[in-house]
């Protein structure tokens, strides 16, 4: 699988056999705007995959999966990180700007309006009652996302120990998240360090 187009050297879109012609910034912006406006209910990554790979054929699946794995290892939301990587691949730096603006704009405008409405009506008892159960639903949602991610990412006992260690430090001991990220992260990376004579960094 060739990844040279991610380098930005040469023309990023040269390898895109699937894309019939050079995409305009307007096309990129509009497509990400549509995805940004319709991806209700979380799972933005799935919407992106459907929109960019399945529907338009702008990216192939291995490229998308690779973009996802880069996005997961970096700070930033997976959806916006993929938008940056895909936009860059489709039309360079300006493509990346068009993509992230498109994907962020609808949600940002809606949440801005929510804050205005909340200022006006947030303290009404009926609104408070509805927000209480909506918040409870959000708790169920966030735990389900965590569990589903865990199912696909956590495999060894050591993985679970690092999860517990992180939760212990952040949630119960209130350690700084940045320190935990750097500290536990460094230990975990060291734990899975590359070893000679083994293809995977497997702890004996």
């Amino acid at each position: 699988m060739s990844r040279s187009s991610l380098s930005g050297l040469g023309t990023p879109q040269a390898e895109l056999a699937a894309a019939p012609e050079r995409l305009t910034l307007g096309q990129i912006f509009t497509t990400f705007l549509i995805i940004g406006a319709t991806s209700v209910g979380g799972g933005l990554v799935a919407y992106l995959r459907r929109g960019l790979v399945a529907k338009r054929g702008w990216l192939d699946d291995p490229t998308f999966v690779q973009m996802l794995s880069i996005s997961e290892a970096l700070p930033g939301l997976n959806g916006t990180n993929i938008a940056i990587l895909a936009g860059d691949r489709l039309r360079g730096a300006r493509g990346a700007i068009a993509a992230i603006l498109g994907i962020c704009l609808p949600g940002a405008i809606i949440m801005f309006a929510v804050a205005l409405a909340y200022q006006a009506h947030g303290d009404r008892p009926v609104v408070a009652a509805m927000l209480a159960t909506i918040a409870a639903a959000a708790v169920g949602l966030t735990f389900s996302v965590t569990v589903q991610l865990g199912q696909s990412l956590l495999k060894r006992t050591s993985d679970f120990i690092f999860v517990l260690l992180t939760v212990l430090l952040v949630h119960w001991l209130h350690a700084s998240v940045l320190l935990v990220l750097l500290g536990v992260g460094a230990v975990a990376v060291w734990w899975y360090r590359p070893r000679r004579n083994s293809k995977e960094a497997v702890r004996p």
Binding site: R3, L6, S7, G41, G42, I70, S71, E72, A73, L74, P75, G76, T80, L85, C104, P106, G107, A108, I110, F112, Y118, Q119, P125, A129, M130, L131, A132, T133, I134, A135, A136, A137, V139, G140, L141, T142, F143, S144, T146, L149, L154, S158, D159, I161, F162, V163, L165, T166, V170, H171, H174, V177, L178, V180, L181, A186, V189, W190, W191, P194
Partner: protein
């Protein structure tokens, strides 16, 4: 207006913690926006977070609502830029470098090592939201029911969130 530089700084810092997902930054977001700077109460933060689950696009766009709440339209714009620009630049740079790291033996170790830490951060974020949102039998029931349905079925979460809001409405009208 004096708040604006602090607001931008806080959200730029929070954006760097969002490894694995926006929830990773939630415990720190709670402690900074609620406990340190008193920009809003814990329950207001929980409200923005949960209503934010109904908005399309990136799931932490609720930061726009926090910005609006604290400092008006300018605050909203500033917070969104502060929260999304730094990580966008990092991703842009690393994306272009990534293929050069292909043969780098530590690349897999970094990916594998950060995965459990990011799950731990997500779990901590979830626990923080739970602490603020689950306050009695009704909310506990809704949380567990939504969790169970989402893990077992492929139902769209937005439907469950709207449904839960209706449960809240009906229990209120019933009183």
């Amino acid at each position: 207006m004096r708040q604006l530089p602090v607001l931008a700084g806080v959200f730029a810092y929070l954006s760097l913690l969002t490894i694995g997902g926006g929830m990773s930054a939630f415990p720190e977001m709670k402690s900074l926006t609620v406990d340190v700077y008193h920009w809003l109460t814990f329950s207001q933060l929980i409200h923005f977070y949960s209503v934010g689950q109904l908005a399309p696009g990136p799931n932490m766009m609720m930061v726009a609502a926090i910005g609006e709440w604290v400092a008006g339209p300018l605050g909203a714009l500033l917070v969104v830029v502060a929260f999304f620009l730094p990580t966008a630049l990092i991703t842009f740079g690393v994306g272009r470098l990534w293929h050069r790291l292909e043969g780098w033996p530590w690349r897999d170790a970094v990916q594998h090592g950060l995965a459990p830490v990011s799950i731990g951060l997500l779990l901590s974020g979830s626990l923080t939201v739970a602490k603020g949102a689950v306050s009695g039998w009704l909310t506990a029931f809704v949380a567990v029911a939504v969790f169970g349905l989402l893990v077992r079925t492929r139902i769209n979460p937005a439907i469950l969130i709207v449904g839960s809001g209706l449960i809240g409405l009906f229990t209120f009208l019933d009183k």
